[in-house]
Assembly symmetry: C2
């Protein structure tokens, strides 16, 4: 890599080469996983380049293509799987400054990939009481482009499913990695080419997303003596078609009491909970439903005195990957797993798996719509001992019919469906023929004959060369 | 009944006693059913009283209570089951003039029971781009109080389920039928006391309903060679969590071509269709999904030239009970049935029942959320021959696991779950101890020992005395 020659071709663009800052901007929340921490800790780019416009993105890609320099796109680096980490060094393309919200209309927002999700919502709420359908628990820090390229769903998935579902992304502008980069507009079925592809086959320069009505979401925590009660309640609540919620999160004792420090005064050590976000106009009905279901409301933001609410994080910062983050802050030996409890047996599977690893795995569920049904994902906390034991737990979940989306792998396939995504692969051939975009993340590109059924972890050869 | 004495007590209120007008305002769309037409054709009130305020409602109820005169509340009379028909004569209490929209806030509207649903939506759309969650196909004529007291769901139920579900009604003000009528505010669980009770246990004087975001809904008709294809498509579309629709209505050939006269130019006689309302910002994704599902878009309001759209009724006026109405206008021998195809076997049941009565029953489905699952109701058209044959068809549906909500019965129980609703009965004892509200509609009140498992039709004795 002739970085000096590249630099001169990028004259006038914003470039960072301070080693400390470059390393910091080459990282995400990969350290949630002790496995990724071991594998990726040394990863760093050569340069961080921060384009301010699509034209500048095109200049960077053309120059990197000319010099054969890998490019790894990055928003604000809130991913958990090393999505935005440059395994072969080269350029980290920071899109954080392309953060303009350019258009808001009924049901739609258009913005740059670097726009922070909370900032988009602030703009759309002020404009016309609208907000994004889905957001990660890193609402206040995550960029929208990173969410689309590296995320899958989150808060709001109880109403709209995941990002991969038809309709949850309307349009993407994507720049290809070629001698003369092309700008493509993708809609409809074509969106699947680049959503959740970690930027391996195109750089997103503009996004158009659907909006939904923004309401005052009321944070409520409901307590239960047993985790099974919290899970059953969450499932029944998620199936209430007339009750508008945005988050339904059962968490097993003692996780809430141990790790939700600022909520501890509302909780008991032996109490499992369901964390909920409820539309204000559904609150009466929610409370009637909860009473009938036998849940104890231990915290209700609509009635809590101001002094109780002071300093409390919002409910979504207790949920999804923030549950793990809060546990990690207290106990660094904690990690987690991501599983699906398939419909219609989700409650049965939840109860079975919950009892299987006492003191080692702690249940944390997120209710969602998934392919038209209400079911739940698990983002279960794990008291980490060894990688072998972690793999054993994963195999046990899978043997019991709960697919694992392994958050301890940096490749698309191992973190997902363990098979080649032919659509994404074909688009990479077209849009990144030299394989310079985010190298090492798409196994199908690196090793077409890879055997996903082996119990081995894919190791990207390029990873050994850097650092 | 001393109608003359009653009249003098109602001095100053708006009263109608012209026999022709009184008869007209004692009727609804009961004539959809040849059975109800035979039974109820002679039904008429003595007076129509039209209060303009809750105070006037209280005056009317107190006076009628004093004189032992039955009171049957009525909105705009768009029901199909004789809900608002005064089986024992007396007063029809027309609430049509209590139609003010008094408050619109985020997610909520408060209005009088006589407000026309389309008028409410016009006000909430203009105020803040909001609209009601649910409406009947009689959107432009139905009153909201009548919808709540006599309806169950409709357009929008694919997103929010039915009116009986927690959260789809926020609050009702209800006046009791006593010497000194009380005004009650019902919320949460208490709402079940009076929703879908035909006004048998209280008069609704104010409603508070949830609102949802109002979008430009695009009418689209998708054609299929076989009805099973339209049904499968509707089911798959309804399960697309990210695709925002408001109506998904498969209808078997040749019904659309025969009866949707103004749409005939877009249709073929042998073509089954799925009528859809799609949010404009979901249209791209909808068309991509439809292409993949093998449906042929035969009409798309977003791209149809203005001259094609001229004079076309909106999609919702092809659906729900308007399908029946359009058929009846062309062929007066048509009637219909209402069934549920229970999840998860809905498609299998639809196909089975669709093949069972060739040339006699024509499938018409409405996809909905029902108790947390996506499934469909049938509002199947029936070529009516005799009441005995109609009962035979009903028994066949039920024997195959498809409950029938019989639209050929004027009682709550026979049109519904064929059992006593203890909550509604208990509230009637409290709110209408003399049984003067809408007599004859609640079997549990008239004949506590009635055997719902008999194959007989309940005949209200009071019905014989009038006319």
């Amino acid at each position: 890599m002739d970085i000096a020659a590249l630099r001169s071709d990028l004259d006038g663009l914003k470039i960072e080469d301070n080693a400390k800052i470059v390393q910091q901007k080459s990282r995400d929340f990969y350290w949630y996983s002790p496995v990724l921490k071991r594998q990726l800790d040394h990863v760093t780019a050569d340069l961080i380049v921060s384009p301010k416009s699509e034209e500048e993105v095109i200049r960077v890609l053309a120059a990197c293509h000319k010099h054969g320099v890998p490019v790894t796109p990055r928003g604000t680096g809130t991913g958990n799987y090393g999505q935005a980490m440059p395994l072969s060094g080269g350029v980290v393309l920071s899109l954080a400054e392309m953060n303009e919200v350019t258009s808001i209309t009924a049901g739609r927002v258009v913005c740059g990939p670097g726009a922070i999700i909370a900032d988009i919502d602030r703009a759309t709420r002020a404009h016309s009481a609208q907000e994004l359908r889905l957001h990660p628990s890193t609402y206040n820090t995550a960029s929208v482009g990173g969410f689309i390229a590296g995320g899958s769903g989150g808060v709001g998935s109880i109403n709209f499913g995941g990002l991969r579902d038809f309709g949850n992304v309307i349009r993407l502008r994507v720049v290809t990695m070629e001698a003369e980069p092309r700008v493509l507009e993708l809609t409809g079925e074509d969106l699947h080419k680049v959503t959740h592809a970690y930027g391996t086959n195109g750089i997103i320069t503009e996004v158009e997303l659907p909006l939904t009505a923004a309401y005052d979401w009321v944070d409520v925590i409901v307590g239960f003596d047993k985790f099974a009660g919290a899970a059953r309640y969450g499932n029944a609540l998620a199936r209430q078609d007339g009750l508008l919620t945005k988050l339904i999160t059962p968490i097993a004792a003692p996780v809430p009491w141990l790790y939700f420090k600022r909520h501890q005064k509302f909780l008991k050590e032996e109490q499992s909970i369901c964390v909920c976000m409820v539309a204000a106009h559904s609150l009466d009905a929610f409370l009637a439903f909860t009473r009938r279901a036998g849940g104890e409301v231990v915290y209700n933001a609509a009635t809590a005195p101001d002094e109780d609410k002071k300093g409390l994080p919002p409910a979504y910062e207790l949920a999804w990957n923030h549950t793990t983050l809060r546990a990690l802050r207290v106990d660094p030996s904690i990690t987690y797993l991501q599983s699906l409890y398939p419909f219609p047996n989700q409650l049965e599977l939840v109860e079975k798996m919950d009892g299987m690893f006492p003191g080692e795995v702690f249940s944390h569920l997120e209710f969602v719509r998934f392919d038209g049904d209400v079911t739940c994902f698990g983002l279960n906390l794990v008291n980490f001992t060894t990688e072998e034991r972690l793999d054993e737990i994963i195999r046990t979940f899978e043997a019991n019919g709960c697919p694992i989306f392994n958050p301890h792998r940096y490749t698309l396939e191992e973190g997902g469906m363990k098979q080649t995504d032919e659509v994404q692969l074909a688009f990479k051939r077209e849009a990144d023929p030299q394989g310079l975009l985010n190298p090492g993340k798409m196994i199908a590109w690196e090793d077409p004959d890879y055997d996903y059924r082996s119990d081995k972890t894919f190791l990207f050869r390029g990873l050994e060369k850097v650092g």
